[in-house]
Each structure stands twice: as C-alpha cells, then as structure tokens.
C-alpha cells in the first residue's frame, strides 16, 4: 500500500545503496553538503589520522531509536553525542567519528536530510568531525527507516586512568543533572501519549565537561565516569559497584528529577532510575575533591544541575542501596529487560 503522503520521487531507492552513480550523488549532494571536512571530502577508503601522543580510545555504538525525531534531538544527534560520550567516559579527547547508515528503501529524503543536518550540527558544535562513512540500502521492511552506527577514536593523555576499577571506598558519586529525561520522552512519544510540560531528550556531548574536570582537578582524583544510557542510573551504579567490588549508597531525595519527568513516570508506572539518559554522566571522585568537582560541573551548561547523590563504601560488593525519601532503605537491582508499563 503506497502511503498517500509519500513522494516516491523523494525517497531512498535500492539504487542509492548500490555503490554506483546514485550512491555518489547521495554522498556528494547530501552527506558532504552537511558533514564537509578535508578528510571526509577526500572520499578515500580509510581516513588516515596524524600521529597523536597518548593512549587510543576506540568505541562503537549503533542507534535504532524509534521515533527517529523527538523533542530535544533525533537519531542523528544521539549517534554523535552517544559515541563522543563513550570516549569521554574513559577520559579521552574525542578525535573523530565514522558514520555508517543502513537506510530502508522508501525512506523520505527530506527525513534523511534532516538527520544528516542534525549530525553535521552536532559534530560542528562538539568539534568532532565525521571522517569516514558508509551507506547501505535494504528493501522496504528489512529495516525501520534508518539505523546508524558511529564509531569513534579518542586520545587519552598518558597519566589519565579512568575506569570502574579505579573507584575507591569513600568516593563521592555525582550525577551531572536531571535523570530520565531522554527515556521518558521516548516512551511517551512511542506510546502516543501527549502530556503537558516540556519533556525533552537531554542528548548532549559531555567531553568538554570531562576535559574541564581533568584540567581542573588534581591528577588521580577523578576515578570513574559513566554515562547511564539504557538501563539508567540504577544499572550503571550496579555495574560500577560490581567492578569496583564496593557497595554504593544513594539518597533518593538528592537525585535531581524534573517534575514533568516524575509525573510522566508515575502515569506510566515506570521507575526513573531505570530510564535512559543521553546527556548525563555519573562522576566518581575522591571525597576531598567532591565540592570542587561539583563546582566545576555546575559551571557548565550540561552540568548546571549536578548533584551529589551518594557514595561508595565497603560492604556487600556490587550492592546498590537507596535510602528512600521517608528514611527507609531498599536495594536497587540492575534492569533485567525492557521497562514495561503496568496494568493498574
């Protein structure tokens, strides 16, 4: 059945993935128009990067979000911010990204251009270019509109060592801002639920915030960074606690959650601790640097709502305990599957 609103002449065809003239026209007419830089424009098989001192960080991620456009971003911004953030979470300065697209036959070219424009803008604002790419087209029904993979390379300065295993008992846990914005925005959009308020994804790059912390704190005081994407803060804390063989204790009342997010979660029966964040990070730092870290984070636009939410302790290794708003306590387990809304 042909969609009445679709213009067949303005859609992706299988030819666009063939490697022939149609592919070349898509690359030069659309991708290079919005992602232009000298390395990419050379259109060679690989991007060659000049020698950079330090350790290399390398990360990859794929993006299949539905819907592809949502308040606060789209699949393109997620693809750029997400991989930049994965590099930044190891203390790396992101150098460049690759961009691989799998397009469904029939995808509206205007939608594709909108995504590519978003990617171009996100790259420019982040200062991290796309230097190599690939495009494939699959028959209608074999993909859902557009799937994106981005891989990224970053450089970690010699003495920087950020990982979950570096966390120590007594370390303070800071969350860089409000929780669950992205996850609830996607779930309400997917459900077709319109709510008053300003639910929007928090998709953002965090590498500049990380660079500020690495420059501003004494060497060795920043131990662990993690961006709590799928599975939420709950799952990330469980992973960190398990890797560090420590117990994490967090205060429910200290965790920043916007009122609209909290209300939407209540309506849908979802727990914000388990919903994705795409522009936030958990920062685990030596206790004597906690206030300085918080101050540095709050001086940035992405971290202005940063808050200390808890600490790591010796105790049952891998356990995460939440002290509730009424003074009780409960254990926070990792997410087991997709969050599902409840009956009643």
């Amino acid at each position: 059945m042909v969609c009445k609103t679709m213009n067949p002449k303005n859609s992706i065809l299988l030819d666009h993935g063939s490697g022939g003239i149609a592919s070349q026209e898509l690359i030069s007419g659309l991708f290079l128009k919005h992602l232009d830089n000298a390395v990419l424009a050379s259109l060679e098989d690989s991007a060659v990067l000049d020698n950079h001192p330090g350790k290399l960080a390398f990360s990859t991620d794929s993006y299949v979000v539905d819907p592809i456009f949502f308040p606060g971003g789209d699949i393109g911004t997620l693809a750029v911010h997400g991989t930049i953030n994965d590099l930044a979470m190891r203390g790396a300065r992101p150098l460049c990204l690759s961009l691989a697209l799998i397009l469904e036959e029939g995808l509206d070219l205007d939608d594709l251009e909108r995504v590519i424009v978003s990617i171009g803008t996100a790259c420019k604002e982040s200062g991290v270019p796309i230097v190599t790419g690939d495009t494939k087209v699959v028959p209608r029904g074999k993909a859902d509109k557009i799937f994106i993979n981005t891989s990224g390379i970053g450089i970690i300065a010699e003495k920087v060592n950020i990982s979950s295993t570096m966390a120590r008992a007594g370390d303070v846990i800071i969350l860089s801002g409000s929780m669950a914005d992205h996850g609830i925005t996607i779930m309400t959009r997917r459900a077709g639920i319109s709510l008053d308020g300003d639910l929007a994804s928090d998709s953002a790059s965090l590498h500049e915030l990380v660079a500020l912390l690495l420059d501003g704190l004494p060497p060795g005081s920043l131990h662990t960074l993690r961006d709590p994407t799928r599975g939420g803060v709950a799952t990330s804390l469980n992973e960190i606690a398990a890797a560090a063989r420590l117990m994490a204790e967090i205060e429910e009342t200290a965790i920043p959650v916007h009122k609209g997010v909290r209300a939407a979660c209540e309506i849908m029966g979802l727990d914000p601790l388990y919903l994705a964040n795409e522009g936030k990070c958990l920062v685990i730092v030596a206790p004597e640097q906690a206030e300085e870290t918080l101050s540095l984070m709050r001086s940035t636009s992405v971290g202005k709502e940063s808050a200390i939410i808890g600490s790591l302790k010796t105790g049952t290794a891998g356990q995460v305990v939440l002290r509730t708003g009424i003074g009780g306590s409960r254990i926070i387990t990792p997410l087991h599957g997709e969050p599902l809304p409840r009956i009643c």
Binding site: A191, I193, D271, R323, G325, I326, G327, I331, T333, I343
Partner: protein, 360 residues
Amino acid sequence: MKYLDEFRDQDLAKPLLKELRHSVTRPLRVMEVCGTHTMAIFRNGLRSLLPDGLELISGPGCPVCVTSASHIDAILDMAERPQVRIALFGDLFRVPGSSGLSLAHASSHGAKVDIVYSPMDSLELAKKHPQELVIFLGVGFETTTPGIAATIMAAQNSGVDNFAVFSTHKVMPPPLISLLNDPELQIDGLLCPGHVSTIIGARAYQPLVEKYNLACVVAGFEPADILQALIMLARQVSQGEARVENAYTRAVSWEGNERAQQMVNKIFEPVDMEWRGLGTIPLSGLAIRESCCHFDAEKRLDIKLIPAAEPPGCRCGEILKGKERPPQCPLFGSRCTPGNPVGPCMVSSEGTCAAFYKYG
C-alpha cells in the same frame, strides 16, 4: 496540593511511624491484598521501618500473578493464529505458560503482539489493521474492567467488527472469602486495595467484617497513606474492634463509582474463574455477556481451556495465599529470577517475588 510530594514527605512519615509503633500493642498480622501496595511498601523502604510485631503478608491482588497457566496457554494459542493480533498491557508480556514460553517468545517468532497503554489503543489497532482480528487481553481487577467495558461499548457504537476481548477479569471479594475460610490463615486485618475500592466502594468489605470480624481499612499508595491505614488497623485491633474504615477518602467513597459498576454489569457477568495457586473460585471472574458475544474472543475463536499443571517446585500458589514468603520457595533467586521467571509472581511488576527480588 500536588499529592506526590505531600504524601511522601519525610516530615509527615516520621510522626506517623512513631504513632504506628505506639499503636502496635501486640503481634499483628495484616494482609496487604493489592500488588501495588506490595510494590509501594517495598519501593519506599517501609518494610525496613515497620515496628517489630507488625507482619505484612502479601495477598492475591496481582492480576497478572493470578492469571492461570491454562489462560496463558490459550493466549499463546491465539497469538499463533494467522490474522490475529494480540494487544495487551505490558505486564503480561513475559509471563510464561506451562511450556515456559511467553508472549515475548511468541513475538520474537513472528506473532503480532502490541503493548498498549489503554484498551482504547487496541480499538485503534483494529481500525488500522482491518484484515486482522485484534484481541485485547482483558486482565485486571475492578479498577481496569470499566475501561474494557467502555472499549467494547465504543466498538459497538463505531461498528468496529474485527475486535474482541479475551476476558480473564477477576473480582476481588471472592478470593478474600476463599482465603479467610482457610483456618491455617490467621490474619487480624486487611489493608484494602485503594484503586479497586474507587470502583466497588468501601462498602464492599462490610461482609468480611460481619462474617470474619476482620479489621478492614481502605488505603492509598503513598507512604503516608499506607502508614495512616496501618495505624487505623492497629488501633482497631488493640481496641478489639472490627469495622470498615476509609483512609483514602480523596479517591474512595462508601458507594464507589456506581456508573462504572453499571457499565461493567452491562457488558460482563460473574462466572467461576480459575486463579493460579488458588484453584477455581465461584463467581470470581467476569465473562462477556451473550448480548456482546461477538466481542468475546473465547467464543469467536472457539478457545478451549486446557488444564495446565503448575511448574514443579514453584510456590507461587502458597505465596499468593500469604502462607509462605518468596525466600521460602526453593526456586527463588536461583532457577526463578526476573530474567528467567518460572512463575508469574516473579515477572509481574507487582509480583510478590519480583518485589522481594528487586527491593530486598
């Protein structure tokens, strides 16, 4: 008043906790019937704050948990049929039938399964897929049934033909009577389900007071609501009284929502229904009336329920009756986890086992 903040306020909870400690003058066993109460108690860390001597037992008020394996098997049978699309609330998606497979598995093998947030969404699905029969899985207690009744009425009014409901709906008072008739079950009071009571009214528990001399308090779901209701229960028991009290007056009245009750009575009629772990309880379920039989999936697809045995070792039945706690089940946390559930008490977001597993 925003309700979320005020009834969760620590400054309100602290004096309530103190008063609760003061009010519990002897060992007290209270059954909290509703699955949402189970989750709320755990989520707020209330169990860690309750005074010694007050024991909370989780009852059968989790609609997904009490859906029998034979009903799940029938659902899986429908899901496999060509031209059938299943619409359901999310909780039921992972509940296993007698083979250990669930709708999640069926979906991964090509069954058309849509999770919806409102039963009306399933009507929209029927309009969107005119060549398919969209079946909405009717699971839930009195809170949910009026919405399903309204959806069937909307289907009638709009002439949507390719829509039906598979009703495993249940009503709350009969299983309570069945439990209270069991001499092994010794409880002093009932924390009555708040949202069910918005429909059936606080008066629905009066027969339990008269027959069993049981203290009954209708409770809301925020920490202050639950603590207030527990104080009222403890005071009744200390004073040797038994009556129905309503601690959720902002949502529940004595009569309930009579319009909703009428809508349900128009579309559904009471029938005997099988409850997982409790057996068949007379007049505890709802079937679609003959006058609306076109919307009854069981009749439309000639579904025959085949008795299914409970999974070996699973103690869901005893847990639902409040006789055992999840850690007493040999499968709890080992063979039966949220990722690999054996019984529904583990998969449902309101399941007692899921609550124990998640919240400790």
